[in-house]
């Protein structure tokens, strides 16, 4: 009874316009687009970190994270407010209903990847799943297997786990990638040794969006009987995944990249043939002893709901996002020259567009694009002066690696947002090119590569 009153109060609060335009139009991030619409916030706009903008920026950074789908939120709320039991409590209704919710979410996640629910372990995110896969597998088989193969474009957590293994005395091979970002299958085949314990190749790259040839890599691994791990955080719910067709032994999944909550992920672990890992989190033996700790029911329920939605809407989303990507790319290419797409254009997830603008530097472009939330692969945005390692691995020239911008398109991106992003990008690039000595040299016909630069 009390919980019902509380739930009603919650619902009222959610629907009440509190003045933040986000709540009024929960599906749209397009406040900056409708420049004519007056905001009821402070008339001077938002000021943060020394930057003043008229409203919330357009969100085009879907690879970093995604907004939670309201339907997912609806599924999660009861488990915060009324059905808040611990799923491992065996003695009362709260525990039982919580456990039921967890198991049904498990089934939803496994259905999306064509696996059995018994093969899904919930973790705190893809980073934890990657850690368990790499360190856990190699530690378990440490007597017989001492070699790991991975690529140079993997996510930082995979590379860091491998580095940790290297310090413990394992051998790691970091495979180079071709210029389009794809792994060379012959090189992979040649690097497999009798003591190779794991091959780890991410399905969709978070920076450049290229899709690796999963089925072929799976075939090679099956041939040599080597476990195949993949980081599918960016791929889940966006491209069709079938763990049997791709012969995947371990797969890392993330909740907040598919319009689910942050702080939840999963690890798929094949049961036939069974792959064993050494747990990285010790405790009460939850999640089959692989990952101890209370399973967070609301997050898991949200993750499951997000997966179910993704399964239903994958095709529709993909078509729509592809059209938006073409609109973005053609819009920019139509007005600017010197635009290079990083990574393969064919084997690519449509929602990730990583472009380099020649003669313009990435961080200064981002500073001008403050009404659009995008990300850059340039040096200044990382702690060191080095440009992004993924772009370097592609063989992108250093001066171009400094200029890349990554646009992320998602389920809630609208055409107006894309048009406005194109407009702002073109304007800023033109302004920066006016300021750029390299562009001036290019216009004068000087070959920039022939100049001897003074190294600083």
């Amino acid at each position: 009874m009390a919980s019902k009153l509380l739930a009603n109060a919650v619902r009222r609060n959610l629907c009440k316009p509190t003045g933040a335009s986000f709540l009024r139009r929960p599906f749209s991030t397009a406040t900056a687009v409708a420049a004519v619409e007056p905001l009821e916030e402070e008339s001077s706009g938002i000021s943060m970190k020394g930057v003043k903008i008229s409203g919330r920026p357009l969100y085009l950074d879907m690879q970093a994270t995604s907004p939670v789908d309201p339907r997912v939120l609806d599924a999660m709320l009861p488990y915060y407010l009324s059905r808040y039991g611990n799923p491992h409590s065996r003695t009362h209704l709260y525990g039982w209903e919580s456990e039921r919710a967890v198991e049904s979410a498990r089934a939803q996640v496994s259905a999306l990847i064509n696996a059995s629910p018994k093969e899904i372990i919930f973790t705190s995110g893809a980073t934890e799943s990657n850690n368990i896969s790499i360190k856990g597998v190699m530690h378990f088989y440490r007597d017989k297997k001492r070699h790991v193969i991975t690529t140079q474009t993997e996510h930082k957590c995979v590379l860091d786990s491998c580095r940790h293994l290297q310090q413990e005395g394992f051998d790691i091979t970091y495979l180079p990638v071709k210029q389009d970002g794809l792994v060379d299958l012959e090189t992979l085949r040649a690097s497999i040794r009798p003591d190779t314990g794991l091959v780890s190749v991410m399905m969709v790259n978070n920076e450049i969006g290229v899709i690796q040839p999963m089925e072929e890599i799976g075939k090679i691994c099956k041939e040599f009987n080597v476990p195949f791990h993949t980081d599918a955080a960016q791929a889940l719910g966006k491209i069709p995944i079938d763990v049997d067709k791709m012969n995947i032994s371990l797969m890392s999944l993330s909740g907040h990249k598919i319009y689910g909550p942050k702080g939840i992920g999963a690890l798929y672990m094949r049961r036939r043939p069974r792959i064993r890992v050494e747990p990285q989190m010790n405790g009460g033996g939850q999640e089959r002893g692989i990952r101890s700790g209370t399973v967070p029911t609301p997050l898991v329920v949200g993750f499951g709901a997000a997966c179910e939605l993704a399964m239903k809407e994958m095709e529709y989303d993909e078509k729509r996002i592809r059209e938006l990507q073409e609109r973005l790319l053609n819009g920019i290419r139509g007005k600017l020259e010197g635009v290079v797409v990083n990574g393969s254009e064919e084997s690519r997830y449509a929602g990730n567009l990583n472009i380099s603008f020649a003669f313009v530097e990435g961080e200064s472009l981002l500073m001008g694009l403050k009404e659009v939330a995008v990300s850059s692969g340039s040096a200044c945005t990382s702690a060191s002066l080095e440009p992004s390692y993924v772009l370097r691995a592609l063989g992108v020239e250093e001066d171009m690696a400094h200029t890349s911008i990554r646009y992320g398109i998602g389920r809630f991106t609208t055409e107006d947002e894309i048009d406005r992003a194109v407009e702002l990008t073109v304007k800023q690039v033109e302004k920066l090119r006016e300021m750029s000595p390299l562009y001036e040299m290019y216009k004068d016909g000087i070959d920039i590569k022939s100049i001897q630069w003074a190294q600083h």
Partner: protein, 168 residues
């Protein structure tokens, strides 16, 4: 609690799965101002004998600055300056400030402009100090180039060879 649920994260651009750790960065107002309203962007004719050109940096490092000064022959004062920069917001601001400060000053005085002064004026964080260093180098390179031109024109008529960048 609800507000937590319903607020999205502003400034997402700094947090991404793209490599590197994220620093808490604050663009000082002056840097933003110089970026939005850059002063003295442009080019003088390189072959003009009264113009000194300093070209420093390297695209590989992500920073290239070209600073040009026009010097009045008799008084030895810098009457005009302009710049072009390929680099981050701090680099653009540093070179913009440099052009503002050299205007109207004699060449000798301009050589004493230190990068620390530029950095302080713009409140540059430690990771951006190299931008101010580059601006200081650009000033020195421009002055050096002008003097080399002067001494050359006293000897021969050749203009500065195109391919040479100034020493850092």
């Amino acid at each position: 609690m609800l507000r937590h649920l319903t607020t999205t994260i502003l400034g997402q651009r700094l947090r991404s799965a793209v490599g590197g750790d994220v620093l808490r960065r604050m663009y000082h107002e002056r840097v933003v101002d110089h970026y939005n309203n850059p002063r003295n962007v442009g080019s003088f004719d390189k072959n003009d004998p009264n113009v000194g050109t300093g070209l420093v940096g390297a695209p590989a490092c992500g920073d290239v600055m070209k600073l040009q000064i026009r010097v009045d022959e008799e008084s030895g004062k810098i009457v005009d300056a302009c710049f072009k920069t390929f680099g981050c917001g701090s680099a653009i601001a540093s070179s913009s400030v440099a052009t503002e400060w050299v205007k109207g000053k004699p060449m000798e005085e301009v050589l004493s402009i230190k990068n620390t002064e530029i950095a302080k004026h713009l409140s540059l964080p430690p990771v951006k100090l190299h931008c101010s260093m580059l601006a200081e180098d650009a000033i020195k390179a421009a002055v050096k180039d002008y003097e080399a031109k002067r001494s050359k024109s006293n000897g021969s008529q050749d203009a500065e060879p195109l391919g040479k960048a100034a020493d850092a």
